[in-house]
């Protein structure tokens, strides 16, 4: 019953009729500011008002337009937006045009230009450029809307290291073995050698130095078992693409280096 008596509730929230427009919920806090910021100056704002009200550009009702314009300018001031002087200048100009239109026209001055003519000319000229800007922005732009093509041919551009073939690795390995066998120690103690452990060690070492010479990873004094594990660790690292093996030329030292790129991104 009460509801029925209430004068046209705007809305109902949780069954309660709402009679008044809430004052602060109405516009999202920043919307007005954003709305006003969208104008690229007084001409843009005027143009918006004219187009919105479907006003004939050749016969602008100055009083109506000026009032609306000043309302927006007031809003901008209330929002303490930094109000460019151009907006105030335009306000003054609008009022001037309006007052000149109010003046009685002497017969001799009948040929004088409509006081609005200059404003209309500027508005249209601005609108033309505004539309042109939109058109320009829609043209596909290199780098933004299409890519340029370049096939790499200069070897110096990307550092390219020769690949290592298995035979090189094998001979390097054999050379190490020979050296190791010369200084072989016989130990009885049994060591738990984990390939994974040595992989980490190699990686850790590479974190500091970025790359290391293949031979330097091996200390022949550690005995064959350790060398084998290191070698396996190295192969495993290479297989998992965590390190790269590179050799500048045949018989040149082999380098072990961290693969570039994020370490963890490797599947």
């Amino acid at each position: 019953m009460i509801e029925a008596m209430a004068p046209n509730p705007i809305a109902k929230i949780y069954g309660e009729p709402i009679l008044e427009v809430p004052h602060d919920l109405y516009i999202p806090p920043d919307a007005l500011e954003v709305f006003l910021e969208q104008f690229e100056g007084p001409l843009d704002l005027l143009l918006y008002l004219i187009r919105k009200e479907n006003i004939n550009v050749l016969d602008i009702p100055m009083a109506q337009l000026t009032v609306q314009y000043l309302e927006y300018v007031e809003m901008m001031r209330a929002k303490t937006l930094e109000l460019a002087a151009e907006y105030l200048l335009m306000a003054a100009m609008l009022i001037e045009i309006k007052s000149r239109m109010l003046l009685p026209q002497p017969v001799a001055a009948a040929l004088e230009e409509d006081p609005r003519a200059e404003l209309v000319r500027r508005l249209l000229e601005y609108e033309q450029m505004k539309l042109a800007a939109q058109g320009l922005n829609e043209l596909p732009q290199a780098g933004r809307d299409f890519a340029l093509v370049q096939v790499v041919f200069d070897e110096a551009v990307a550092e390219r290291l020769p690949d290592v073939n298995p035979a090189d690795l094998r001979s390097a390995w054999l050379a190490l073995l020979t050296r190791a066998s010369v200084q072989r120690h016989h130990r009885i103690t049994r060591e738990q050698l984990s390939v994974r452990d040595y992989m980490s060690r190699i990686l850790r070492r590479l974190q500091e130095t970025r790359y290391v010479q293949f031979n330097d990873l091996f200390d022949a004094a550690q005995g064959i078992a350790v060398l084998v594990v290191i070698f396996l660790a190295l192969l495993e690292l290479a297989r998992e693409r965590l390190v790269e093996l590179a050799q500048q030329a045949a018989y040149a030292p082999i380098y072990v280096k961290l693969r570039s790129g994020p370490l963890l991104a490797v599947e």
């Binding site: 151009e86 042109a132 370049q150």
Partner: protein, 216 residues
């Protein structure tokens, strides 16, 4: 001397490799340097046209722009490329684009001319951004007090827009037509929203404000 026996197929391949390995457009004069024999510009142009036709069905096309010939990826494939690199250059703000439009269509113009048309001060940042982009430059000074600089657009702008000359810019709306379009533009002009992740933008004035797009 082997060049004298070079057939058209070979010429085409040489042009192709030169154009594919260069990102900047190559002018006819430069392309001529590829060959020992003296190829006429007409002949060269004909072969380039043939080459363009050869690539017609591919994702990459040969185009002629202000500074010469170059290959580019067809724009319709950009959205796939963007997936690999979601950081795209931000779109310029309306202030920048309007300034550029005035320079492009009314060149050569001074800053004062631009301000007259736009009705607001043109900030130095906008001019500088366009200069740094290589899209505009100073081509002289107007002989009036203060000798203001005259700005014009560069070949590089045309290259970036894949145009051969200023004539190929979209035509301006006729002023008379604008008088009659009353009421067509009741919507607030909202520039198309950039689809990709925006980069950090140190100079918000130059680029589109994300908030605008969000609120609209």
């Amino acid at each position: 001397m082997e060049d004298t026996t070079m057939d058209i197929g070979q010429v085409k391949k040489v042009l192709e490799v030169a154009l594919l390995t260069t990102q900047e457009p190559l002018a006819l004069a430069e392309l001529k340097k590829l060959f020992d024999e003296d190829l006429s510009s007409d002949a060269l142009r004909r072969i380039l046209e043939e080459l363009r036709t050869d690539w017609e069905e591919r994702s990459v096309e040969l185009t002629q722009v202000a500074s010469g010939w170059r290959f580019r990826a067809r724009p319709e494939f950009q959205r796939y490329l963007d997936r690999v690199n979601p950081i795209r250059p931000p779109r310029y703000s309306r202030a920048v684009m309007e300034t550029l439009a005035i320079i492009a269509y009314r060149q050569p113009v001074t800053r004062g001319d631009i301000e007259n048309i736009r009705g607001v001060t043109v900030s130095t940042n906008i001019i500088r951004a366009l200069e740094e982009r290589g899209w505009i430059d100073v081509v002289g000074h107007r002989e009036v007090p203060g000798r203001p600089a005259l700005y014009a657009t560069t070949k590089s702008l045309l290259d970036d827009l894949n145009l051969r000359s200023l004539d190929e810019l979209p035509p301006l709306d006729d002023l008379g037509a604008l008088v009659e379009t009353a009421g067509e533009q009741t919507e607030l002009p909202v520039a198309p929203e950039p689809e990709a992740v925006p980069q950090p933008q140190p100079q918000p004035e130059l680029y589109e404000d994300r908030r605008r797009a969000a609120a609209a």
